[in-house]
């Protein structure tokens, strides 16, 4: 029986086993490779997607559980060529290095911007505890988030 998933607003079908991790269907079938499977244990956050607006590690979610939900990957956050507010802030702060963690960071921070407009530096650091970055030492990411919050 085919899975039916709503990804970035599109209805997509997959013939994969229902317990296949969502990340693998996004990447291997739909070629949405912005979502990165890095640890596959739910610690690193590089595979974070929004499932009904909630940041969710897609490596731990069996695809069948995402049926009927609105799945939004990093590719589905902006409109056209425009960057979102958090993407603009991260670019402006020169926060990006290797870039592997950033799709997941952007997903988590998109949610933070939407739900915690008053977030402090410590709130942001706490919100990022499920998103690991090996390159940057985090500070620029926190700074960028604060600047995005200030603009809002």
């Amino acid at each position: 029986m085919a899975l039916s998933l709503t990804v970035n607003g599109d209805r997509r079908a997959s013939a994969a086993d229902p317990v296949t991790p969502l990340v693998d269907i996004l990447r291997e079938e739909f070629h949405l490779t912005g979502t990165k499977p890095v640890c596959r244990e739910g610690f690193c956050g590089a595979c974070m997607v929004l499932v009904d607006d909630r940041p969710t590690p897609s490596c731990l979610m069996p695809a069948a559980l995402a049926e009927g939900s609105d799945i939004r990957t990093v590719e589905g956050l902006g409109t056209g060529d425009a960057l979102t507010a958090i993407q603009v802030a991260l670019e402006t702060c020169d926060a990006v290095q290797c870039g592997m963690c950033f799709p997941g960071m952007v997903v988590t921070l998109t949610h933070l911007l939407a739900t915690s407009p008053e977030a402090t530096r410590d709130d942001i650091r706490a919100a990022l505890s499920g998103n690991i970055c090996r390159c940057t030492g985090y500070e620029r990411i926190v700074d960028a988030t604060l600047s995005a919050l200030a603009v809002k």
């Binding site: 926060a95 290095q97 290797c98 690991i132 090996r134 926190v142």
Partner: protein, 791 residues
């Protein structure tokens, strides 16, 4: 030379796509007809292969190709060719490859692996350097004498894969002086995993009799040459291209899984993708090596270091790899920082039946600096001198001799220490903490270098006024290829950096390059790029001088124009000149090449070294405040400060980003990133649950001061800035924790249990009985005697 400065906080052009998930790293690549590969790995540390039967796997659904040791005849190595692609007859570590399979899907490849019939007869294993160096220990490489030697000079014997020595002056006489204190310290550190977020990944195809390898690497030319050597084909049959690399940190400075995919692509006639699983990365990454160190110094009561000797044991795992080369670095790291009287050092790369180690940001330097700086504090305590005053008295300055007798230029460390005083005084935190935690502080110095070496660049002038920079450089995340290189080229030609198109690495398009690592990108590739751009400039100015009717030396290139100096708006656009040049003479281009000239050491001082002296030293001063919880052993870093010698900062903001990131990687190493090996020889930390990386809540903003103006042969006075930030972090944290607790810190990482052991005096003195009491007894053969490798 250039009319507009190359210095600016230029943004990186790859950020937008990385932020939108559009960047296709190697692991994201997908080709028509692409197969998926998986590798069967041994599950014992030492054994003899009795049977390896792939016939059943070959009949499994979806399987297109299987390759084994018979398909990969060559051996590779640095210094010694000891490393085959697959275990041949003998297994030397848990995780060693046995066979590789390509199938239509990854699940099919993995299912087929499970049907390979393997029988292994266990052999005795040596899992620690103490076991490996014990008398009558089993040899990891019983045939070590028969291996091809790729670089002469290292002493070798049995489980000692390589030994490098430094002897300068009469150390025995120094230690025998009546006016000295003898201070001895021992240290031990574990391994560190790079945890590059993109694992090793490759997509290979075989077309027209040549391999095309797209791979996540720092070293395209090494991949080309080493793959060819492994496969037994001419290197010209291998083309390597490199998509954006998702983190490397030294992990990708060596050949990895590329030959598996190449062999499978040739065997199947289809493109093959192979991506390491996270578990494979955790268990078989080329870790920063574990090391054991004893260091002794003879120091006068007024703080002169008249003699120093050290023994450094570096675990190379089952194959020599990078550690063979890294034995060289001890002379410049542990032997760095300070003016020394007589000196003798031995670094030994030791084989064990464990996963091979490799390169990791400031290889060797991180733990040698830890050992040296903790030892320095112990010396200062012994002679009753303030540790900072002791450092100030002894740091290397202009005209001082390094360990191998090279003469250092310029006073760099002393003014850097002054700069750190200013940073620290501005902060002025209290010395007692209200919550009962123990306060500690330390300032350390470190010596690192730029790994110069050959680089090539071509700059093609396009008639539209842009240029294309063609090199074998790779963007691994540090930004050098996105920022400093286009800045250098643009500054030379009066263009905007955005007008410099940067070609991704392709060994078919660009000349040889050592690779992106060792702080060498901006220096070596930068120098080659600068020289290529200067050739273009000369050619354009010649054509322009005819067009503008002015002598070339009266012309300047600025803001996209070639103008008469002092007359803005005069002259022509660069595009006009390039168009004219193209029509009259053909397209304009320039080529550049660079390599380190080499700096002399003192004759006879070194043996077994790949580099006798360092072309470009790089210095760092770090300082931190910590709070140690006496109840839990938890160490909190309160402040962290860095003064870094950068030569010249082309992009200060980018360098600050490297320093923050490098320090945090160092904090992980210092405090909680721990790799341990179980009694069967397997790495215990197989994922992120057990390997504790720094999180956003763990870190502090690093206070940074860039020290400019130190001598450098780098282009525009630059030095590498991205590698060195991790150098003294372990040292600084260790010295601060020792300062807070009054205990002798001898090991890293300083996990809460280890700190509690220290606080409760449960930790006995570190004993390294496999390091012989007399320095000379640690040597395979006396320093300076002839090589006996071939006997």
């Amino acid at each position: 030379m250039s009319e507009i400065s190359a210095t600016m906080d230029f943004r990186r052009r790859d950020a937008r796509d990385k932020l939108r998930g559009r960047t296709r790293y190697t692991m994201d690549r997908y080709l028509p007809g692409m197969l998926h590969a998986a590798v069967l790995r041994a599950n014992v540390a030492s054994g003899r292969i009795v049977r390896l039967d792939t016939s059943r796997a070959a009949r499994m659904r979806g399987v297109r190709a299987i390759v084994t040791a018979a398909d990969a005849p060559g051996k590779i190595g640095i210094g010694i060719a000891d490393h085959p692609l697959f275990a041949r007859d003998v297994i030397r570590y848990d995780g060693e490859p046995l066979a590789a399979i390509a199938a239509d899907t990854l699940a099919q490849a993995q299912a087929a692996l499970a049907t390979i019939d393997v029988e292994i007869a266990p052999l005795p294993a040596v899992l620690t350097m103490a076991e490996s160096l014990a008398p009558a220990a089993p040899l990891v490489h019983p045939d070590w004498r028969d291996y091809e030697v790729l670089f002469e000079g290292g002493a070798r014997s049995g489980n000692v894969a390589w030994e490098a020595t430094v002897v300068r002056g009469d150390v025995d006489a120094a230690f025998a002086r009546s006016d000295v204190e003898i201070v001895e310290s021992s240290f031990r550190v574990g391994r560190q995993n790079h945890v590059a977020f993109e694992p090793r990944a490759v997509v290979a195809s075989y077309e027209d009799g040549r391999f095309h390898i797209e791979t996540s690497t720092q070293v395209p030319w090494t991949i080309r040459n080493a793959t060819a050597r492994i496969l037994g084909v001419p290197p010209s049959q291998v083309r390597v291209t490199v998509p954006p690399v998702g983190g490397a940190f030294g992990l990708k400075f060596d050949l990895a899984i590329e030959p598996f995919a190449a062999l499978l692509a040739r065997a199947s006639g289809q493109p093959v993708r192979l991506v390491n699983s996270r578990e494979e990365e955790m268990l078989t990454c080329l870790f920063r090596e574990n090391a054991e160190i004893r260091i002794r110094s003879a120091v006068t009561r007024d703080g002169e270091i008249v003699g120093r000797e050290a023994v450094v044991l570096m675990d190379c795992g089952a194959y020599g790899g990078e550690q063979i080369f890294l034995t060289t670095m001890t002379a410049h790291t542990l032997g760095g920082n300070y003016r020394l009287g007589s000196t003798r050092l031995v670094s030994r790369a030791v084989y064990t039946n464990t996963a091979p180690n490799g390169a990791f940001r400031c290889c060797n330097g991180v733990y040698c600096t830890f050992a040296l700086e903790r030892h320095t504090d112990e010396i200062a305590a012994r002679i009753g001198m303030d540790p900072l005053a002791f450092r100030r008295r002894n740091v290397l300055g202009d005209g001082d001799l390094g360990a191998t007798g090279q003469v250092f230029e310029g006073n760099v460390l002393a003014p850097m220490l002054d700069r750190m005083d200013t940073l620290r005084e501005a902060a002025a935190p209290s010395r007692t903490l209200a919550d009962g935690r123990l306060f500690g502080r330390a300032t350390t110095v470190g010596t690192w270098f730029v790994f110069v070496g050959p680089s090539a660049a071509t700059v093609n002038m396009n008639a539209d006024g842009t240029v294309t920079l063609v090199t074998s450089g790779v963007e691994i995340g540090s930004g050098s290829m996105m920022q400093s290189l286009p800045q250098i080229v643009a500054g030379t030609l009066g263009l905007k950096p955005d007008d410099v198109v940067v070609r991704a690495a392709d060994t078919d398009a660009a000349g040889y390059d050592v690779g992106v690592g060792g702080g060498r990108t901006t220096v070596s590739l930068g120098a080659a790029s600068l020289s290529a751009a200067q050739e273009v400039r000369t050619k354009l100015l010649k054509v322009a001088s005819e067009m503008i009717e002015a002598a070339p030396e009266d012309l300047v290139m600025r803001q996209g124009r070639i103008e008469i100096a002092g007359a803005p708006g005069s002259g022509r656009t660069i595009a006009d000149v390039a168009t004219r040049a193209q029509a009259q003479l053909g397209p304009v281009s320039g080529t550049g090449a660079f390599t380190g000239a080499g700096v002399p050491a003192m004759p006879g001082c070194v043996a077994g070294h790949f580099i006798d002296a360092i072309d470009i030293p790089v210095f760092a001063v770090h300082d931190c405040d910590v709070a140690v919880d006496p109840e839990t052993g938890h160490v909190e870093v309160l402040n962290y400060r860095v003064v870094q010698d950068v030569g010249r900062a082309l992009n200060p903001r980018a360098i600050h980003g490297q320093i923050q990131g490098g320090v945090v990687q160092g904090l992980g190493y210092a405090l909680h990133e721990e790799v341990t090996i179980d009694t069967h020889g397997r790495v215990r930390q197989n994922g992120f649950e057990t390997y504790r990386l720094p999180l956003a809540l763990d870190v502090v903003p690093v206070e940074i001061s860039l020290y400019e103006g130190a001598p450098s042969v780098g282009p525009l006075g630059t030095k590498g800035a991205g590698e060195v930030p991790i150098l003294n972090v372990g040292a600084t944290i260790a010295c601060a924790v020792a300062n807070a607790t009054g205990k002798r810190v001898q090991e890293l990482p300083l996990t809460p249990p280890r700190v509690l052991e220290l606080l409760l005096d449960r930790k006995g003195e570190l004993s390294l009985s496999h390091i012989a009491e007399a320095w000379v007894d640690n040597l395979v053969r006396p320093h300076g005697t002839a090589a006996q490798n071939r006997k």
